[in-house]
């Protein structure tokens, strides 16, 4: 697939841009934060997005989805990233939704996915247990118990965990933490006995939670996919979510850069626009070059998912490493170039810096991704 947008894709991009400009400007994100909104995003807006077909855009039509591809979802996510949209694409569609789609049986898919596509159900992937992304480092145990399982352990940084209706819990059914084998996915309702959820307030004002499972009894039918063999699905889910997150990051990168460029042309010191100073011009041109490369990689990774290419994991890691580094660069340069106003809470540019840092670490930072890339290449 060519690295250019088709007419249909351009139209979708335009529609998304206009919808988000009208319904979800950054001022709305600020209002959610200032109000310490108990949900952290707007359920109504999420339903509206679902009505537009966005929540289910990549899911099969038989489950209420749009049957389109990641190239299209990526355009939506990029627009979301431009406006710091907090609605639960990552948690519910990319992570939770994909886990059900890829691992779930017919009953599970029919139960969960139509509700996801309709914007009625929020999902969260309970994976991370330490302060870093390390997907096989899973100690949370699932022991056989009667006809089902008993889950005990703790998860951190569960995105949208405090508002999720259901959790996809990554648990260990055999072996030791760190091993690829012995991991099983479970679909767990959040209101069952023994699940305690604590919202954690994050620097980027996005949703995350700590979740404790204490002897949670669940039925065998809650297993998603194969027992002990969950890692294969988990890998695919993480690839898709990583590439999706990259598209969001690309939007944030582009927006932070565009805003900075506007500021450089407006802001006057010494009687001239500060954008006339070579010290700032060169750094802007360097950022431009990095962004262009990052855009190509993200576009290619999205298309690799649609084409089901064999090296999609490697491309996902490459995209994430580049997005992490580029967002870091652009976020920091933006704040510096804005000068004093850039470090005030009143100016919106700081939101992008904060999101950059969190998104960079989410699902593995650049160092993690480069290590993974090397392992995938066999060195």
């Amino acid at each position: 697939m060519a690295l250019v947008l088709s007419e249909e894709q351009e139209l979708l991009q335009q529609t998304a841009r206009e919808f988000i400009r009208e319904h979800s400007p950054v001022t709305k994100f600020r209002a959610l934060r200032d109000a310490q909104d108990p949900i952290g995003f707007s359920r109504d807006l999420w339903r509206e997005m679902a009505e537009l077909g966005w929540a289910g855009i990549v899911f099969p039509e038989e489950y209420g989805g749009g049957g389109l591809g990641y190239a299209e979802l990526g355009l939506l996510l990029e627009e979301c990233g431009r406006s710091l949209v907090a609605e639960p694409f990552l948690s519910t569609v990319l992570l939770g939704g994909n886990a059900v789609l890829l691992a779930g049986n017919e009953t599970q898919c029919k139960d969960v996915l139509p509700a996801v596509c309709a914007g009625e159900r929020i999902l969260a992937l309970a994976l991370q247990e330490t302060s870093r992304h390390d997907p096989y480092r899973v100690a949370l145990r699932a022991e056989s118990s009667g006809d089902g399982y008993r889950l005990s352990g703790e998860k951190v940084f569960v995105l949208d965990g405090h508002v999720a209706d259901q959790l996809v819990v990554v648990a260990r059914t055999s072996g030791q933490s760190g091993e690829r084998d012995g991991i099983t996915l479970f679909l767990v309702d959040c209101d069952v006995k023994g699940v305690s959820v604590t919202r954690t307030l994050m620097v980027d004002s996005r949703n995350a939670a700590r979740i404790r499972l204490e002897g949670v009894e669940i039925e065998r039918s809650a297993v998603l996919g194969e027992v002990d063999r969950g890692s294969a699905v988990l890998d695919s889910v993480l690839d898709r979510a990583t590439v999706g997150l990259c598209a969001e990051m690309l939007g944030g990168i582009q927006e932070a850069f565009d805003r900075t460029l506007r500021y450089l042309k407006e802001r006057k010191q010494f009687g001239v626009a500060i954008g006339s100073f070579q010290a700032l011009k060169h750094r802007s041109a360097i950022m431009f070059s990095e962004i262009e490369l990052t855009r190509s990689v993200v576009m290619d990774a999205l298309r690799a998912l649609d084409e089901d290419r064999a090296d999609v994991s490697r491309l996902a890691s490459m995209a994430k490493a580049r997005c992490a580094d580029t967002y870091f660069l652009v976020g920091n340069e933006a704040v510096q170039m804005y000068g004093g106003i850039g470090v005030t809470d009143e100016e919106e540019i700081g939101f992008f810096l904060k999101r950059a840092r969190v998104a960079q670490m989410t699902l593995g930072d650049a160092a993690y991704q480069r290590d993974r890339y090397a392992r995938l290449r066999g060195f």
Binding site: A2, L3, V4, L261, L264, K265, V272, A273, G275, S276, Q278, L280, K281, H282, S284, A285, I286, F288, S289, E292, L293, T294, R295, S296, V297, M299, D300, M318, A321, R322, A367, R370, D371, Y373, A374, R375, R377, G378, F379
Partner: protein, 395 residues
């Protein structure tokens, strides 16, 4: 699509049958040829390969056949490049005439000039060099001073060029000259073609830190040049000059792809020098740098592809060429810095025993790569152009 696939199969078969074994594959002899009146061939296959490609017009695949080209569409030329890369064929002809002057003659030259020069370029009969920089006009190229006076049907040229690539081996030179010393500096420049065999032209090679001498100083003393060798209008040469620079940058950008004489992949070299024939590489820091290089190189390649797909057919390279020139050359420098780190003290041999020819070549290329971000407009000049033309930042 089916047509293109047919062309691919035909090209593949043709290359298989016609590219001599010593001019392709990982162990190909690296002899390049630039053609020209004084072309010499150590390996007869180099000559044979050139002749066969010339006969097909594939040294300049997209030029019309009447000018010695192959008459291929852009899509076919891309297929040909892919097939040549696939079979690891060495270029049949290196040529500034093809990459820089040709496109400019198509756009700005007279029909007479095209018919005179393009076929000889395509056939590798005349080797061209570029007379742009002067001792006092480097980054400030428009400050050039080479003087030209009219004398009947001729110009009389006096002055000096510097950093003229391979001037000592070239047959003709395309020059920027000052035809109106009174006009503002961009408005008094003309684009002139000069036969290096003319009386009064002389060259002196400049030895670089790499030990090689790819550049010369070129002197002009009362050189008589027919006025019909002027390309475009008198005093309107700056537009042509800038367009040619875009083509030059596009050519230099290719260097970022590691196409310059490095048969082994970075990964392969890393395995050798880190003594890790299989499994994980033993040095975590160099391993991380290797991945960064590989990622940057692939990202760059994807961006070249995206840019080509975005550009409508027939458009020349635009301001984006500055981004590619900047990034490609910086990437190439980083590549060689990485290789030097990787080779350790084996990267520091100058000549003779104790070092493989590959190691010695890497040492020289490392030093040579330092010029990449200077020649054809420094990285700083490229960043200026991006800031002005792409980002619209004020002067």
């Amino acid at each position: 699509m089916a047509e293109l696939e047919k062309f691919r199969q035909e090209s593949r078969r043709w290359l298989e049958e016609n590219c001599p074994a010593s001019k392709r594959g990982p162990s190909a002899d690296r002899e390049e040829t630039w053609g020209g009146r004084n072309a010499a061939f150590k390996n007869p296959d180099t000559k044979l390969w050139l002749e066969r490609m010339v006969a097909r017009g594939w040294t300049s695949p997209t030029w019309p056949k009447e000018y010695g080209g192959g008459g291929l569409s852009e899509a076919e030329a891309k297929v040909l490049r892919e097939e040549m890369r696939r079979a690891q064929c060495l270029p049949a002809l290196m040529s500034f005439g093809i990459s820089m002057l040709g496109p400019v003659l198509f756009e700005f030259g007279s029909e007479e000039q095209r018919r005179e020069h393009l076929p000889k370029i395509a056939r590798g009969e005349i080797r061209w060099c570029q007379g742009y920089s002067e001792p006092g006009a480097g980054s400030d190229l428009a400050g050039l001073q080479m003087r030209v006076e009219v004398d009947g049907d001729d110009y009389i040229v006096n002055g000096q060029k510097i950093w003229t690539s391979y001037a000592d081996k070239s047959d003709w030179i395309f020059c920027l000259v000052r035809t109106d010393p009174e006009a503002s500096k961009h408005d008094g420049i003309s684009f002139l073609l000069i036969d290096m065999a003319s009386p009064g032209v002389s060259t002196a090679p400049i030895k670089l830190i790499s030990g090689t001498s790819p550049f010369c100083q070129t002197f002009f003393e009362n050189v008589r040049v027919p006025r019909k060798n002027l390309v475009g209008q008198e005093n309107a040469g700056w537009t042509i000059a800038k367009r040619l620079l875009q083509h030059e940058r596009a050519m230099i950008s290719e260097m970022g792809l590691g196409l310059t004489g490095r048969p082994r992949s970075l990964e392969n070299l890393a395995r050798t020098y880190l003594d890790s024939p299989e499994g994980s590489l033993s040095d975590p820091i160099l391993r991380d740098r290797l991945v960064q290089q590989m990622m940057d190189e692939e990202s760059y390649r994807l961006t070249l592809r995206r840019s080509a797909e975005e550009a409508k057919a027939g458009q020349g390279p635009g301001a984006a060429s500055s981004m590619f020139k900047y990034y490609g050359t910086e990437l190439n420098k980083r590549n060689y810095e990485f290789l030097v780190s990787l080779l350790g003290t084996q990267a520091f041999g100058w000549e003779g025993e104790g070092f493989s020819s590959e190691e010695l070549a890497i040492t020289r290329e490392w030093l040579r790569s330092k010029g990449n971000s200077i020649e054809g407009g420094t990285s700083e000049i490229q960043l200026n152009i991006i800031a002005k033309r792409v980002l619209g930042l004020p002067d």
